[in-house]
């Protein structure tokens, strides 16, 4: 195996590429903070009634998810039931240590904001950052459309879509794009971003709004479209966990693809294209950045054809 090139070598400077423009970087990090706070304060809110239902109201006898602490002859245990399957989740779900004391609580103190159970405070955190999150999201949506970031970088081409199987295999083998190919999001990546932007995020917001009794009166009965308020609560929870799953995979991929390079590109905008021939078919012809494009020139502040 060839060693990875030293980041400071002359060749890597030549391969520098301005990957993320400032608005994307700023909005990305605002999003990171908001998502973390919203998820954790959301779990704090969930803890006030740790059960999920499907329908207009709560069928208290048949939640489809429920977390609770149960007394047994050998002491209390944490239990989780999903559908008709019950799990022992002592230590994490249902029963966990808060400040060193075993406490009956759905999600553990390390996963909630605030740590000590407080529905009122969790709601304040949640609704304050929900506003920042939504405004940031709308700014991103507008920017991504008007800067053409959406059509140019996020929507995959026909060719890319045709090679989706190849992209799957590359991901499974942890093969990452190099050279020219690394300038574009790979097809699985862009499809994932599209699902997050146009499915999960709108769903999490809409289902969240559906839980507000006043918003429910906007067009009386619109919440039925989500299956009713308790279904909306379920969808809000599922969408949030979908986002969490995305974040986990996203962060995992950052580590696999090279955490320093990826982090630098999301902080400074500059990314060093991995050298060599990429395994990705779209990069087959060009392994090194195009000398004419100027996109890799470290002095170019914002190249005319800025890529993702």
């Amino acid at each position: 195996m060839d060693p990875a090139p030293a980041p400071a070598s002359a060749s890597s400077i030549e391969r520098r590429f301005y990957r993320h423009r400032l608005p994307v970087r700023v909005m990305h990090w605002i999003n990171v903070a908001c998502l973390a706070i919203l998820l954790m304060s959301g779990l704090g809110i969930f803890n006030a009634h740790p059960a999920l239902y499907w329908g207009r109201d709560s069928t208290f006898a048949q939640p489809w998810v429920v977390l609770w602490a149960k007394r047994t002859p050998n002491g209390p245990v944490g239990r989780t039931r999903i559908g008709s399957t019950e799990f022992d989740t002592t230590g994490v779900l249902g029963l966990s240590k808060a400040d060193g004391v075993l406490t009956a609580r759905a999600f553990p103190a390390w996963a909630t904001i605030p740590g000590p159970q407080s529905l009122a405070t969790a709601r304040h955190w949640h609704f304050f950052f929900a506003w920042i999150f939504v405004v940031n999201g709308l700014c991103y949506l507008l920017w991504t459309i008007f800067s053409r970031h959406l059509v140019r970088d996020l929507v995959p081409t026909r060719d890319e879509l045709a090679r989706i199987g190849r992209s799957f295999v590359d991901h499974l083998l942890f093969r990452h794009a190099a050279g020219e190919a690394a300038k574009r999001y790979n097809v699985l990546q862009s499809l994932t971003y599209l699902v997050v932007i146009f499915v999960l995020l709108p769903l999490v917001v809409l289902a969240g709004l559906a839980m507000s009794p006043r918003v429910d009166s906007v067009l009386t009965g619109w919440v039925e479209l989500l299956g009713g308020r308790q279904s909306a609560r379920t969808l809000h929870f599922l969408a949030a966990f979908g986002l969490l799953a995305f974040v986990l995979v996203h962060v995992f991929e950052v580590f696999v693809a090279g955490v320093w390079n990826e982090m630098r590109s999301m902080i400074t905008g500059w990314y060093v294209l991995p050298a060599g021939t990429a395994s990705r078919p779209m990069a087959a012809s060009v392994a090194m950045p195009d000398e004419e494009s100027g996109a890799h020139a470290p002095t170019a502040a914002v190249p005319k054809e800025v890529q993702p």
């Binding site: 009634h49 207009r56 109201d57 904001i113 529905l119 405070t121 304040h124 609704f127 009166s217 955490v259």
Partner: protein, 269 residues
């Protein structure tokens, strides 16, 4: 030159990753501790709470004054209407009324009004009534559908005629949330809503739940229904109604029992 597979990564890389992971874990723990410190900082929480004004302003634009809460069909009514909070007031004055099946109950309406009034349950039942099958949304997250019958609060307000300075309708309740003995600090449940919400068509003082007299666990003899807000806004065991210009000087100053405990005054979210 492909990136080496993960298990063949250079030791230096692994070390860096290790370091980074440690740093991320430490940063996460510090962030959590920071969040908890902020949660105990009154002015920070007060700042967070300001978001409710933005939410309320936007909500009153997108769902203006007359916007109606959804009403359901009889088949949607929950077999048992869940009760929460006080289930059976321990207060002596309430117990006495309860013993006589609320025959001696009088709803007193006063404060900033032209013509204060007092009405028995029978008198309230003789007034115009509204029946609605609505969904009760608890701040905890659950919902329950029930059928309520009662007198529109707007009708009562029309009888007492609020004065120009009246801005809020304050509900005084029978149930003490803490020690009910008269020597203990006043912990009676109370709530307040603004006049806009008070005069909404669906805001009623309910004396019936699912075609039966309101059960004690759901707030007998009279409870408020404010259908576009959360459950804690819907005062149970209503003893008296008062029109006030502001609530800053009343009890904890936040406009309600749970509001004084940190919850938002605006319960539309």
């Amino acid at each position: 030159m492909k990136r080496p597979p993960i298990h063949l990564m250079h030791a230096r890389d692994r070390e860096r990753r290790h370091l980074l992971r440690g740093a991320v874990a430490a940063a996460g723990a510090a962030a959590l501790a920071g969040c908890d410190r902020l949660s105990n900082n009154e002015s920070f929480v007060e700042t967070l709470k300001q978001a409710q004004h933005l939410s309320r302003a936007v909500q009153s634009v997108v769902a203006p004054r007359p916007a109606m809460a959804q009403e359901f069909s009889p088949k949607d009514i929950a077999p048992v209407f869940r009760s929460n909070g006080t289930l059976n007031p321990r207060d002596a004055d309430y117990r006495a009324l309860q013993a006589a099946n609320f025959a001696d109950y009088r709803l007193a309406v006063g404060g900033l009004v032209e013509k204060p009034g007092e009405w028995s349950l029978d008198e309230l039942r003789a007034m115009p009534s509204r029946t609605q099958i609505t969904r009760h949304d608890c701040v905890e997250g659950w919902s329950c559908i029930g059928k309520w019958t009662g007198v529109p609060l707007a009708h009562i307000l029309g009888r007492v005629r609020p004065l120009a300075g009246a801005r809020f309708v304050l509900f005084r309740c029978f149930d003490s949330m803490g020690d009910p003995s008269p020597s203990a600090p006043d912990s009676h449940y109370y709530e307040s809503i603004d006049l806009e919400e008070a005069t909404h068509v669906q805001t009623i003082l309910a004396y019936e739940l699912n075609d039966r007299p309101l059960p004690v666990s759901n707030g007998a003899p009279l409870r408020c229904r404010v259908e576009r807000q959360l459950g804690y806004k819907q005062a149970k065991y209503v003893r008296a109604i008062e029109l006030v210009p502001a609530f800053g000087q009343i009890r904890g100053g936040k406009g309600g029992y749970w509001e004084d405990e940190g919850y938002e005054w605006y319960g539309g979210i």
